[in-house]
Amino acid sequence: MAAPDPVSERAHYRFPPSEAYPLNRCLYALKSDPAFIERFVADPVAATAELGLTEGERADLRRMDRDALVARGAHPYLVFMAGLRLKMAAEPGALEYF
């Protein structure tokens, strides 16, 4: 097998590996699907049961462990915005809207 491309392996934003597709799909839903955010906030175990995720991925998602998720191939931006959306859902009053 060819060695990994040195440029993309060093990059902060890397080519999303296909094995992380279910994880990125879930983060995308957390970022962009308000109904899924609601289900996830209510019960993260049930909300992520049918998404083809590994147990390790589900555990990191429940903790929103940024570095662990990114190490698994999650897209950093999706991790960032999923986390911000969860914060917005949890404490809407703590935010100032312009």
Partner: protein, 264 residues
């Protein structure tokens, strides 16, 4: 014709401020955006073309276009509690996609994709009254492999020629930048000195030099979104930038810039 050119930060904390963000800094960036709004008011554009990098919102991993044009009658999106719907300048959008393809740029077009907040946040603050129709232009910045800075610049050159050949008065806005690393372990340490060096270069009217920067360099400096600026720079050429503000927060270099264009 092309009557105005601006770059405007779009970090979501400018629209929805958590307690982690310095309120005075946010208001200073708002004031700079208010100057852009006034300039747009004075420039009387018929349409606003806005170049932004979709944040994996309209284009997830099911389809990843390098360059895209919104060509429907209108476009809409949501961000948190914000629900927005904006008219598209359809004849202009169609001219951009048709002439862009004639010039060798294989543009994706959409009449239906949602509009990301990267487009909305600047327009929320700078849209003149009455509101003008827009032409949203996507450049892939977040999903590697992204278009090279050279390709973005070449697209901007073509875009500038297309817009100058049109009867409408068009203002061009690049959304995003400067240094930031969302979702990475570099989040709290952006490259502000790099940003300041870039702004000096732009003040000198040397924007075309950015066409030679590599994608690797942009990633290393937290400036992958600069592809939207580089696209705009292709359109504006060697005009000297007027930097309205550069406000580095603990995680983001917020800039608002105008390239004052000669009257067409």
């Amino acid at each position: 014709m092309l009557v105005g050119a601006f770059a405007v930060a779009h970090t979501p904390q400018l629209l929805i401020r958590p307690e982690t963000e310095d309120r005075d800094l946010v208001l200073r960036v708002h004031a700079a955006m208010g100057r852009v709004k006034q300039r747009l008011q004075d420039l009387r554009p018929d349409a606003i073309a806005i170049v932004a990098g979709d944040h994996v919102e309209a284009f997830f991993l099911d389809a990843v276009p390098a360059l895209a044009v919104y060509v429907g009658r209108e476009c809409a999106g949501t961000f948190g509690p914000y629900r927005y719907r904006l008219d598209i300048h359809e004849p202009l959008a169609r001219a951009v996609v048709e002439q862009g393809i004639e010039r060798g740029f294989d543009l994706l077009y959409t009449q239906d994709a949602p509009l990301d907040y990267a487009f909305y946040v600047p327009l929320h603050f700078v849209m003149p009254e009455p509101a003008r129709p827009i032409v949203p232009l996507h450049v892939n910045v977040y999903l590697p492999p992204q278009p090279t800075p050279a390709r973005c610049h070449a697209w901007g050159v073509a875009l500038g020629e297309i817009l100058r050949g049109r009867p409408e008065r068009v203002a061009l806005i690049a959304s995003g930048g400067m240094s930031h690393f969302p979702g990475t372990d570099r989040y709290a340490s952006p490259e502000f000195d790099y940003d300041r060096g870039l702004l000096d270069l732009l003040r000198d009217g040397r924007g075309r030099e950015l066409a030679r920067v590599t994608g690797e360099e942009l990633d290393k400096r937290g400036n992958i979104e600069l592809r939207t600026w580089i696209t705009l720079l292709g359109a504006v050429g060697d005009v000297r930038a007027d930097v309205y503000c550069y406000e580095p927060s603990w995680h983001h270099g917020n800039a608002v810039v105008e390239w004052p264009l000669p009257t067409p």
